[in-house]
Subunit: 453 residues, 2 copies
């Protein structure tokens, strides 16, 4: 028998089939409001389609004095803790976001043997393993389909459909804000700052865009995807990330001419080359902008859409695509989980526990791929030789080079063969020491080519 | 409480967590061979990832004398019935295909309270509702993720993730053979017969290609998708279908120039315009070639890949993409179901029963969309007026017309506004009666435009 936590899972509580399932909703923002509206206005259709009728036990908000159109005032409460502890509540939906007070409320609910559905990526990325253990100990569900890629079914396929699959790689466009900004830069030739302002104007970016553009949001989602894909523990803060603020429209234009698009990718990889050791397989989880061939299925994911591309040993290539954010799409994912939790409650069971496998993170410097580098140099004889020598010294092999005049200067655009990140880093350091090099501009990984290792 | 069959579901049998799950495999073709190889060579990794260890109880084949490389001879039996009735068997996997003897074997297994996993689209399309009832009566699983679109998780998302979603439309490219042929016609400008021959040469089409090119295979999958999307009973033989053998490369080239691609689509639609009556909503399920805008996510699905596009009221647009056929991808989907069945066996439960809602099929003539029509006419004055009058008589409004010279003849290419299929049919009949019309050539629906009703 393989490792399994089923044996330690407690017997779940159960609920009669003819009674409505009472839902406590924590948080009444975009997603909470949309969920309330779905449950209130579409309850008959939901019951007919799913076999479950829901009843809202209460909606906990931070500021009870604020008007909440569409939410009946008698449902609104400022006492989230009291709502979670209400003995008439069957399922708790956490839509507050962030760690505090969400974590404590979720822990309280699970300890009281109430299933929890959450859309909180930060919470799951920070302490998903501990919360999963708490849920298993109580024999109840902890479901979080809405935490990654909004309406797209991705958590359940990774947890269940692909439970037997040797997943090699998961590559996701999981942040709509950055994808909108990069799409706008590409399609309208705008610089980053203008595309960001446009995204803010249209409501696709927050006034403080750091969580999105610096890759924090994508890193949390990458951690969740990796943990499920490889059955291991990955914490959001462990995920190295590069944001998009240094992506130059010039590099996007070059990428286009070379047949690539630039996307912010959440990447989770598992390496089989060294064989699995007792410490488990080596994996890598990271977030960075990258160049993708225009023919790659992810390249067509434009604007605020999300998609997750999965490469499995038996399944081959899969892609799941859809709306990654927004009140209704996210509420739709929450509703799917709620129906799951309700069926499990009735059957007196819970979603299966995902086994955990040890894994080691491969050091970033040891990761290999092809690279794009743009280097501004003085336009005089011998410069290319000097630059090429630095590549050679660090074992980085050049696949192609193109020179573009810039007045007294020239820009050299290099594509490399597969090269270790550590070697490329040392190459860049070496280039910066050359008198003839003014600037190392865009440095982008190339992902998804046939030979990208 | 909405309608639900849960109450009538029997208590499921259960299996201890520390014992291997014994699997009877019926059929040892491409998929059966790949499944045996996965279970035998990857058993440790599957157990570590899923918490379940499988043991093959036997592999039933039609011809025991044939060599089966990779399948241990002691597992092979010619007695499928005996294998299904073996009391040591926990789960039955049916990979024979077709109705006879698959149906009887599956019924026998379910009656004996053994969960069944099948990849048999014909079987599920023909009698999925009866088999689901038999499974529910025994309290065991009937799982068929592999029956539609190979490795792509589509059955589980429709059954579970989207259980609460008002699905408006499901549009699938679910037959790899026809998609390969149409892609080849489009990319190489080949006529249908040559593209078919190329597909046969490469193993993407059978020697007798009728099941694929006439749309039978896609119709069975459309019935399964519609039944899950709309929670109703749809049988494969109820699905009107048009194949691809009359698609002309000239029409594909015109489509390309107009910004469209030609794809064979399985379409399931639910109409909310008339409101749901006591007889349930009106739906349409059908298979036909159609023109899709080049910017539609399905338009990029090339070669033997499959994809299913889903439009939900809350979820918005979703697309699930991947390998729709082949031994390993299909075996991967079977394995995901096997792991489900094993977990359910252990918990003494079964996959939830999908409620059934009554629905009426809207008559084909009442379906509306925009159309492409290519008409060969004599090249003389007054012809266009005569042709246009026929459109007008039948209430079909012309969006654009283009004339191409063909020697003494001319070809008229029409795009219409949204028009009822019945009106278009009468228009075509009327055109054929005109002396000046030599031939009504390509007639293609246009699907996926913003205004396609």
């Amino acid at each position: 028998m393989g490792p399994s936590a089923q044996e330690t899972q407690a017997q779940a509580p159960s609920t009669p089939a003819d009674q409505p399932v009472r839902v406590a909703i924590l948080g009444a923002g975009n997603v909470g409001g949309a969920l309330v509206s779905l449950l209130l206005s579409d309850g008959d259709a939901i019951a007919a389609r799913s076999g479950v009728r829901f009843e809202i036990a209460g909606v906990a908000v931070g500021d009870v004095s604020r008007a909440r159109p569409g939410i009946p005032p008698e449902l609104v409460t400022g006492d989230a803790k009291g709502l979670v502890s209400d003995p008439s509540v069957d399922v708790v939906v956490e839509l507050i976001g962030g760690l505090d007070p969400a974590r404590e409320l979720v822990e309280t609910a699970l300890a009281a043997r109430r299933p929890v559905v959450t859309a909180n990526k930060e919470l799951i990325a920070a302490c998903g393993a501990q919360l999963a253990d708490a849920a298993a100990a109580s024999g109840v569900d902890l479901l979080y389909e809405a935490a990654v890629a909004g309406a797209i079914p991705i958590i359940r396929p990774l947890r269940e459909s692909l439970a037997g699959e040797r997943i090699r790689r998961v590559v996701g466009i999981v942040n709509g804000t950055t994808n909108f900004i990069l799409s706008t830069m590409s399609e309208q030739g705008l610089p980053y700052a203008e595309a960001l302002a446009e995204a803010q104007r249209l409501g696709f970016a927050e006034r403080d865009p750091a969580a999105d553009v610096d890759g924090h949001d994508a890193a949390a989602k990458a951690a969740i995807l990796a943990a499920l894909a490889f059955r291991c523990v990955v914490v959001g803060t462990d995920v190295p990330r590069e944001g998009i603020s240094s992506v130059d429209p010039v590099d996007i234009a070059f990428a286009d001419r070379l047949g690539y698009v630039v996307k912010l990718l959440a990447v989770a990889e598992r390496f089989d080359d060294g064989g699995d050791t007792d410490d488990g397989p080596e994996i890598s989880v990271r977030v960075h902008p990258a160049m993708l061939p225009r023919t790659h299925p992810l390249a067509a994911v434009r604007g605020a859409f999300n998609a997750v591309f999965i490469e499995g040993a038996a399944a081959g290539e899969l892609m799941l695509y859809g709306r990654g954010a927004g009140g209704l799409p996210t509420a739709s994912a929450v509703l799917g989980d709620l129906i799951d939790a309700a069926h499990h409650l009735r059957a007196g069971t819970a979603a299966r526990v995902v086994p955990r496998i040890a894994a080691r993170i491969r050091p970033s410097d040891d990761l290999s791929c092809a690279w794009y580098l743009s280097i501004d140099v003085a336009d005089r004889p011998g410069v290319l030789a000097a630059v090429a020598q630095v590549f050679g010294t660090h074992g980085v092999s050049i696949r192609s080079m193109e020179q573009v005049g810039l007045g007294d200067e020239a820009r050299l655009i290099f594509l490399t063969h597969i090269a270790r990140a550590g070697d490329v880093r040392r190459t860049i350091d070496g280039l910066r020491e050359l008198d003839v090099v003014d600037r190392v501009g865009g440095v982008l990984r190339i992902v998804g080519d046939q030979d990208d290792g």
